[in-house]
Symmetry: C2
Subunit: 206 residues, 2 copies
Amino acid sequence: MRKHFPERTIQRLLLYYRYLNFMLQQGTKMISSRGLADLLEIMDSQVRKDLSYFGKLGKRGAGYDILELRNKIAEILGIKSKKNICIVGMGNLGSALSAYKGFEELGFNISLVFDVSEQKVGHKIKGQICSNYSDLLKLIKENSIKIAILTVPANSAQETALALEKSGIKAILNFTPVKLTLSKAVKIRNVDLALELKTLSFFTED
Amino acid sequence: MRKHFPERTIQRLLLYYRYLNFMLQQGTKMISSRGLADLLEIMDSQVRKDLSYFGKLGKRGAGYDILELRNKIAEILGIKSKKNICIVGMGNLGSALSAYKGFEELGFNISLVFDVSEQKVGHKIKGQICSNYSDLLKLIKENSIKIAILTVPANSAQETALALEKSGIKAILNFTPVKLTLSKAVKIRNVDLALELKTLSFFTED
């Protein structure tokens, strides 16, 4: 069922989850749809629509029970279940991401990291032993990993992506500037950091 | 004038720029609007509309001269002019970004990096001497830096963002999961890596 949520709904649900968690830590117990809407800067009718997926949760006038709502969202989104992921390309960005705590907080476990460099393979990088890229197919299959973070140089991005697809990867977070061409069975999200920065910079022009 | 391009148009223009550059390197000289549209997976009418901002460029039937179009886009978007930026928070992600080549390719120069840690201040991290966070206001003003990358821990994000605004920063690329509250004079883009990965992971569910 989860699959049928639109992507934007999923992103909003994840944001609700994060804010609700934060409020629980602060000791807050109830919140109105307006309160949640204000936090996300969206309309409260949108919040009510999103949360209506979960059946009757809010009490008219009293708002939502934060703990109940948080747990419901976690359950629907499968946040509790740990997911193993791999990172391919242990340059600066790959190494940084392998130590990035934000992934762990949302239930990810980085179980494999790969590189081609002899200086890296077999050595610990930020606490992870680096595997040899030549074992990619075997190791990803053996460990049934479905999600990969791609941080290789641009000129080997497409080739690596094809190897990932072959090894059974179903989702790739692509940090290379290359538009990957894979079958529809693999879902790709592109994170283009330089493009984000460049877009932003236009608003600082005189 | 640049300011009035919609954000999405700017992002497409940057992508055109990148692909055109790539094709030049491959020795290709001409491209049709359809050719560009296919690369970006958008409609060719969209490409023609975007490129019409630049006046008469294409020749009916022959398509666009890649070199001419590339230079025109670079000029309009100010890609040639180097822009100084700073990074605040030299943890794993901040350090990685300070060495990230993608920024340089799009005309950015990381001229200052900041941290609070005594172990880092005054030392080189990935080739950058780390400045003391307590000098942030002074150094950013002196160097007229307008763009900052924010990679501090979540619990000091808002406070740091306020200091950045005070020091004259006009654009922040925010890697923290915190929704920053600043005046409208500061443009913010949020890059939430964990959220990207989580959204992606829903499409690998059974």
